[in-house]
């Protein structure tokens, strides 16, 4: 392969491309360390907005609520999503299978506003007090189908004879699932869980339809704060989120690199 040489055209397009992607984020991080209260005027370096953020319980509480909802909803979604993927994959051709699988995937393409509105109507009609649990329920309903998609794609390549071998060696169908199927498909269940977790973390639309007292998530809190004007405090909290995401991405990259090396080593062992 020919090595691409340095040209001014390549350098310019690379710079412009990365600037387009990362300049806004970079500005946000820089201005979070701004002394001045004005968002667009640099008044010297300071970490006072981070201190203020730490003392401001509103954001901390919202972050905590968001985290709780994300954990509850993604865990439930992972369980239900895995079960529905198994049923879709295993049950063969039962009556209404196409309808059922179509309905499972519907929330993927449904506009969030519609999902949010219909859930709001349901909760109002049912007379449920809105708050923590209504948001959690709403998040379960829309993130479950993502888990189903992820786990289904794993089950396509899952060797059914593994389960049969477990039955053959004395397992009941349930213990075969726990001891063989689940450990084998666990990576896909975990990535489904992570997907549901992130979806729940940054959801604004559905959460704002179904929120209530005790259900103020971080996105809702941020959005309502922005409506009163952007403050450097918001820059600070956004910078923290950017930092968390960066760390998570780096960890994921390292672990997948290690998995690749382990795989190569195993291949070497098997052939030696």
């Amino acid at each position: 392969m020919k090595v691409t040489r340095f040209t001014w055209f390549n350098a310019t397009s690379l710079t412009l491309g990365f600037a387009f992607l990362y300049l806004p984020i970079l500005l946000l991080v820089i201005f979070s360390f701004n002394e001045s209260k004005l968002v667009t005027v640099w008044g010297g370096f300071s970490t006072k907005w981070y201190q203020q953020l730490w003392e401001n319980s509103v954001y901390l509480d919202a972050a905590l609520v968001t985290l709780k909802i994300a954990v509850v909803s993604s865990t439930m979604a992972a369980i239900l999503g895995t079960v529905s993927a198994l049923v879709l994959h295993r049950a063969g051709r039962f009556r209404g299978r196409t309808l059922f699988s179509g309905m499972i995937y519907a929330p993927l393409v449904m506009p969030e506003v519609i999902t949010g509105l219909s859930l709001l109507l349901l909760f109002v009609a049912a007379g449920v007090a809105k708050g923590f649990w209504t948001i959690s329920l709403a998040h379960i309903t829309f993130s479950m189908c993502y888990v189903t998609v992820v786990v289904s794609s794993r089950l396509v390549t899952f060797d059914r004879s593994l389960e049969e071998a477990a039955l053959d060696l004395g397992c009941t169908p349930f213990t075969a699932f726990l001891q063989v199927t689940l450990p084998v498909i666990a990576p896909s269940v975990i990535s489904g869980w992570l997907l549901a977790f992130t979806l729940s973390m940054d959801d604004l639309v559905i959460a704002s339809f179904t929120t209530g007292p005790g259900g103020t998530t971080l996105p809702i809190q941020l959005y309502s704060a922005i409506r009163r004007g952007v403050s450097p405090e918001i820059n600070a909290i956004s910078s923290i989120l950017v930092g968390v995401v960066t760390i998570a991405v780096v960890i994921a990259a390292i672990s997948s690199h290690q998995a690749e090396r382990r795989r190569a080593r195993n291949e070497h062992l098997a052939n030696s």
């Binding site: 004879s161 049969e164 039955l167 053959d168 063989v180």
Partner: protein, 389 residues
Amino acid sequence: MTTAAKSYDSVSSEFSPWTDSNATPLIQFQNVTKRYGDFVAIDNLSLDIYEREFFALLGPSGCGKTTMMRLLAGFEGLTEGRILLGGKDISHIPPNQRPVNMMFQSYALFPHMNVEQNIGFGLKQEGKSKAEIKDRVEELIQLVQLQQFTKRKPEQLSGGQRQRVALARSLAKKPKLLLLDEPLGALDKKLREQTQFELMNLQEQLGMTFMIVTHDQEEAMTVASRIAVMSKGELVQVDTPAQIYEAPKSRYVADFIGNVNFIGATVDSIAINKDAQEIEATLSNNTLVNATTTEITEIKQGDSIWLSLRPEKIAVDKAEPEGDRNKLKGTVIDIGYVGNVSTYHVQIAEDVIVKAQRVNRNRLRNRQITWDDEVWLHWNEDAALALDK
């Protein structure tokens, strides 16, 4: 003249419970039918398998052999009939409660467990104590010679090592019947041949009953005490390997196992010799031939029959052989050279080509018979088998 029917049995005279009317079979299929919707996978099939047998199910894909195995393991329920194991009806017992274990074609090793854990899995399910499991697993690891690999995961093993783990795992619970589903299909030819003999020795050493499903006829011939040839959900013939090869009862079986020539003939006379028929027949070019049957059949004088002749039983010579029977003249139109033997395709008539095999005792450059040579084919008078047309 030798009789065709019984002489081949001498090979397996020490062990042949199927000829003993007092022996009780270990496995009995009684009028078993399995249907998937309209498709009949197994059609009203009855079969007895005896203890300590190495039984092979042989047939093309889709013939129902895998279904038979899955019925025995309990992964499929049967539609009609019943299956007995040691006299007990197991038709409706779930797979985890049957004293039957299976070695899977894909090996189905648990990827998240190492070699020891894989082998000990079945014993752990039985609730055996840690010490008991450890002893038995060690014993099995010795048996399949995997001492260096006990802590490895399946993905760290080669194909042959995985195959041995799978075998050890299926032997761990000392099943009354071990099912082997194409157990050597994923190995290369050399390793496969070696493993066939290992399997046979193991089966003899452990005194267990093995049932193997395979589409590889050589494998079935090598390992099995008896072979069942299947077609479209039915048993076509159940016999010892020697009988299946030397005395096939139908054109299907003769054609399925090894190479064979079928030549049309008309029956002139029939003589009964014990429980077989000896036939004199005429080919369409007026050549006189001898043929035998393996049992008393419905073949009558004047019938058209197939003369079934294995290529290795036909000799090829340039000089005309003595006698006036069992010989044919033709032209060599093709030679298939595979090193140790050559197969000569000899044209007898416009639409009749007979294959004859010859061991290459001479070097290739000294080949005496070559393309377009006129040759004589001839065979012993007991070489040809008569099959109903």
